[in-house]
Symmetry: C2
Subunit: 277 residues, 2 copies
């Protein structure tokens, strides 16, 4: 990891949030909640498979008891799946019950056998417009997460912040974006589009790092400070645009962090959040 | 591979060109030239390492003797390397000697130890402006190749067609882009930016396919028809914009095509060019 820049404006340590995917192979959701409480991490973003395993009511109680903020629920979306409508309705209900600051949408890629990216993108827009009224009614903001272009075929056909914001502009209120540095750090229009998004549209800010080399297209993200993303600069843009929410650490790391003691992972998150972001 | 659409406008088979990287583990440049001649492929795009190995004069003679068109020389660029200026000058001379339709620029990523993508991009623009007068004088068009965002750190910090065209607009005459479907297929602004580029700026068109799943960030490209890129649609946009040049097949494929008999590879290129692009 590179030396921190001593002159940068420091991040507020109370704004660190744990996306539980970061310790998904080691901990249940109950353990992750306890871990955050034990280590003084004030935000948490659960995934729905772990939420189902724990039970929604239990999770709501444990999160409340520990005074954690739910910075997002992962995830709705995958609008190309067969049961997408029911599944997204359930996700909205769960996000409401958790008091989540947003429901993160990973919108899905190309339908099986299709090469029609334009149609897939239209379908995503139509599908979001169908669930948006329910999300508004439930008070659950929907956060489109543009994913890295290398995941366009399989996971999400919304691949830049500009594209996501164009969709938001069409759809109106109650929808915004999750800005994950891993997916957008390379974008020559990043600063411009973060400014465009502003406080109104940025619903979540996710951090990790881009490793050189990257050994896998999905599960080789780096801990903050171990890669090449200029995290202080991007945080400067995001906070400069008016966003004052949490910094959610989300690290899919098959070869490294998923192999480690989860308390060590959380301690490292805290140190790197302070020193490298 | 999926069934070809019988209604599409067929590609002109005489426009297929072989980027020699497609058979780089199997053949020398001399063998690739003979292979193209033997199989009736009319265009070739050599790489400079193989060119040096064969000798520039020998290569010029062999290419001329076989009546091949040099659709591009790969590559100049890497402006973050120490010897970039001399190296790019030599590349321009070689491209001139070969009568290449363009010198492809892979511009380089982040300098060692740097996270400053904005500065890297500025440096690329400055560097190109320094070699452009020599390229114009030599009659060698420079083709900026935007690379896929997953290669931003290591190989090229120009990552979209829009960004490349913005650089061209600043630099003026004698410069354009190489449109490689592998790098740009995902881009929501692809059609718009191809139209913007038009005949004036599109200097080369490269084809291959995006495999699902993709197992490596660099060397797991697919043969046309084996992946999810809508090749007929993109060719329609490119030719609709006025481009009437070659379709250069460039397939980095460590696990598949680099393992095969190169004559079989060329035969497959011809068949797939006809049936899937």
């Amino acid at each position: 990891m590179s030396a921190p820049d001593p002159d940068r404006a420091l991040p507020d340590p109370s704004k660190l949030s744990l996306n539980t995917a970061t310790v998904k192979t080691q901990w249940t959701l109950a353990q992750a909640i306890e871990g955050c409480a034990r280590q003084g991490i004030r935000g948490i973003a659960p995934w729905r498979d772990k939420l189902a395993e724990m039970g929604l009511k239990q999770a709501v109680m444990a999160i409340k008891a520990n005074g954690l903020t739910v910075t997002g629920l992962c995830r709705g979306g995958f609008f190309t799946a067969r049961n997408w409508l029911d599944d997204n309705r359930r996700a909205i209900e769960e996000a409401h019950a958790l008091g989540a600051q947003c429901l993160v949408l990973v919108v899905g890629g190309l339908p099986e056998g299709s090469k029609d990216l334009i149609r897939a993108r239209e379908r995503v827009k139509e599908s979001i417009s169908m669930i948006l009224p329910e999300a508004r009614k439930a008070g659950v903001p929907l956060a489109i997460e543009p994913l890295h272009p290398m995941q366009a075929a399989e996971r999400a056909c919304i691949n830049t912040l500009e594209q996501a914001l164009d969709v938001c502009d069409v759809l109106g209120e109650g929808i915004g974006v999750a800005v994950d540095v891993y997916h957008v750090w390379w974008d020559p229009k990043l600063q411009q589009q973060i400014e465009r998004a502003g406080k109104k549209r940025i619903l979540a800010y996710h951090i990790c790092d881009w490793l050189v080399p990257t050994r896998d297209l999905l599960n080789d993200r780096g801990m903050m400070g171990d890669g090449v993303i200029d995290l202080p600069r991007i945080r400067g843009w995001v906070e400069g645009s008016g966003y004052s929410g949490f910094h959610e650490a989300e690290i899919f790391s098959e070869l490294n962090w998923w192999q480690r003691d989860p308390d060590e992972v959380l301690a490292t998150l805290k140190q790197r959040h302070r020193d490298c972001t």
